[in-house]
């Protein structure tokens, strides 16, 4: 709903109330774009290898979020530091 600013007389929209469907619309816009590109033969969205990697990363991320919840903030920091060092090791 728009309010009217008493000083300028301008219409002001309040951002605190989003449409209940706002999140869905965002996701839909993204997925429509995927559909658009998927219709093209050489699109990255049709790559079996890439789709498999993305699927695996999704599973890993779900798992990671759950493990981190159990770890607590302090331990999480320590684990992150260690993994970062490991991933930079030998480069």
């Amino acid at each position: 709903m728009a309010e009217i600013d008493p000083e300028s007389g301008l219409k002001l929209r309040k951002l605190t109330e989003l449409k209940p469907t706002a999140a869905e619309e965002y996701q839909e816009a993204m997925l429509n774009r995927v559909d658009y590109f998927s219709k093209k033969r050489d699109s990255t969205f049709n790559s079996f290898v890439e789709n498999t990697i993305v699927g695996s990363l999704k599973i890993l991320l779900d798992l990671k979020v759950k493990v981190e919840e159990m770890l607590g903030d302090d331990n999480k920091e320590k684990v992150h530091e260690m993994i970062d060092k490991l991933l930079l090791f030998g480069l």
């Binding site: 951002l15 989003l18 209940p20 991933l87 480069l91």
Partner: protein, 572 residues
């Protein structure tokens, strides 16, 4: 704020020296940037015209964060510049030799071509105006082709191009120009427009479809707010919101789903519309990809008093966004300078074998964030809620530092031993090496990602392949908000100019192309260059538009005739 809270750096007043211009005589003079009352200011003295002072940032804290440096951390990036196009002939140095000279430190990320200085509007602050200039600036197709070739044939080619003006869509050959840009290999073809061609009641939709098919990717769409009264103040035209809405509708129907709303922000004029514009973008998320707020640059002659009244800085804009979004896009945590992603972008480009996009501009040039709607709460959040940006950037900086030499010196072990066959083996080794690097990088990004979901799936695709399909789909699920502050003679900083990544290309009468950085062109070089390329203005061109209504004179005639009942074409 970010990671400088509680540090001695934050407590120490900011101070640096640079070089600037005298706003009166445009001679190069020394300048100091310093902190005063929690704000950042520039002061300078011209021996002939006295003292000048201008605000650079209304938040000293935010400014200091963007200039924070550690051993592994700085937003001040080293760019890869292309070989210079001209030599230093003016001993005063930058910015007088622009063309580009050897002092320039960054390559061009966005090439600009002024397609015309004709326009259907007559905004009083605009430099590109055929009526006021008294001459026509309009490069021919051959000249446009020459400029495009100039930008694409460099060792580091410009990845994207934007057509500017005037109003570029008044040109009849605009679809042909879009097609030409794609033919030259520009990945992103953009038009800076008030929407003229797209909104026409008669044929606007067909024209929108035509330019989209020809190769236009994005509208950089002038959008000052949602109130007619605001447009009346900024553009001098009544009832313009309906015109703006028609652009959105026609793009939606034509499936041209990449519109960036561009709002020029001046204090007391358009700053009240910031929240409205964000809300409008959210409401039209199927076609709107982003918003760019541009604090007004006061080019042309303006008094110091008038300048101070209108001046607004990037920090003011992001503070207003914070205020007008109820703190959801917070100045304390959501914003990063454009240069933040330089190393990150280089890693993706190297691992995916694609052309890199180099945002090696100055940290003061612009800030950005992505906004998302969390599907679990249906609340607007900054993308920073999805991952830990400081950790990601920190890792990317270290990672790039360790692998950057591989780009220049790929493994050549077998080729020295086995000749041609060895070369094939080396290619295989290099491929394997890239895959293990990619795996390390992906795992690092994954561990600093905080939320799962479709958006992060798309983000992982961007990391894997860096391809346009993935980037485009990701941006369709988010809203990019940025603030870009172009310079004028009052706040001109030559260190910023040297790092400029947005360059105009002008086809000169001698057959060459002059490449000039954006702020230098508008502050210094435009009058002299235009004098050389100006064409004669005919009466027909002069009387083409009714600039108080924004329509062609012949269109208005048709409407009047139609309303009088003489035209029975229902389509109008």
């Amino acid at each position: 704020m970010y990671h400088i809270d509680g540090t001695d750096y934050l407590k120490t007043p900011y101070y640096s020296k640079t070089r600037s211009l005298c706003p009166e005589c445009l001679q190069r003079i020394g300048a100091e940037i310093y902190e005063e009352n929690d704000q950042i200011w520039m002061r300078k003295t011209c021996p002939d015209h006295g003292d000048f002072k201008d605000i650079i940032s209304s938040s000293a804290k935010y400014y200091k964060w963007t200039h924070y440096k550690t051993e592994n951390w700085s937003f001040d990036k080293d760019g890869d510049a292309n070989p210079p196009d001209c030599e230093i002939t003016d001993k005063r140095g930058c910015p007088y030799n622009c063309g580009l000279c050897p002092e320039h430190l960054s390559t061009c990320s966005l090439a600009l071509i002024d397609l015309t200085n004709r326009c259907n509007f007559n905004c009083n602050f605009c430099y590109a105006n055929v009526q006021k200039a008294g001459y026509l600036i309009e490069p021919s197709l051959e000249e446009i082709d020459r400029i495009m070739a100039h930008f694409r044939n460099k060792p580091i080619p410009a990845p994207s191009i934007m057509f500017t003006g005037g109003e570029p869509t008044v040109r009849k050959d605009f679809p042909e120009i879009c097609a030409m840009a794609k033919k030259h290999g520009f990945k992103e073809v953009i038009v800076a427009t008030n929407g003229y061609g797209f909104q026409r009641k008669n044929g606007g939709l067909e024209w929108t479809k035509k330019v989209f098919e020809a190769g236009l990717d994005t509208l950089y769409f002038q959008f000052d707010g949602i109130n007619n009264a605001t447009y009346e103040k900024t553009r001098g035209i009544k009832n313009l919101m309906e015109y703006k809405q028609r652009v959105i509708e026609n793009c939606r129907k034509a499936e041209l789903t990449s519109i960036v709303l561009v709002a020029t922000i001046a204090k007391g004029v358009t700053d009240i519309e910031i929240g409205n514009i964000i809300q409008y973008a959210i409401d039209n998320i199927d076609v709107v990809r982003g918003i760019t707020f541009q604090p007004v640059a006061l080019c042309g002659r303006i008094t110091a008093e008038d300048m101070q009244e209108l001046r607004i800085t990037n920090a003011d804009v992001i503070q207003e966004i914070d205020n007008q979004t109820g703190g959801k896009i917070s100045i304390e945590s959501a914003w990063y300078p454009l240069t933040t992603i330089v190393e990150w972008g280089r890693i993706i480009a190297y691992l995916a074998d694609i052309e890199p996009v180099e945002f090696t501009c100055h940290p003061d040039c612009g800030f950005a964030t992505y906004l998302a709607i969390d599907p679990e709460t249906n609340e607007m959040v900054s993308i920073m809620d999805y991952f830990d940006p400081l950790k990601i950037i920190d890792f990317a900086n270290k990672f790039w530092d360790k692998i950057k030499n591989k780009e220049k010196e790929p493994i050549k072990f077998f080729s020295s031993l086995l000749g041609d066959f060895g070369e094939t083996l080396d290619k295989g080794v290099n491929w394997l090496d890239k895959q293990q690097l990619k795996a390390r990088f992906l795992l690092a990004m994954l561990q600093h990602t905080k939320k799962p979901g479709k958006l992060m799936e798309m983000f992982s695709r961007v990391l894997i392949d860096g391809k346009w399909d993935s980037i485009s789909a990701f941006t369709h699920g988010t809203l990019l908000i940025s603030s870009m502050h172009f310079q004028d003679a009052y706040d001109f900083n030559i260190e910023r100019v040297k790092r400029c990544i947005v360059h105009f290309g002008v086809a000169m009468p001698d057959g060459t192309v002059k490449e000039v950085s954006f702020c230098t062109m508008n502050t210094l070089h435009r009058p002299e260059i235009e004098k050389q390329v100006a064409k004669k203005l005919t009466e027909k061109v002069k009387n083409e538009f009714d600039t108080t209504m924004g329509y062609r004179v012949d269109e208005i005639d048709q409407e009047v005739a139609h309303n009088g009942g003489t035209i029975k074409d229902e389509e109008f």
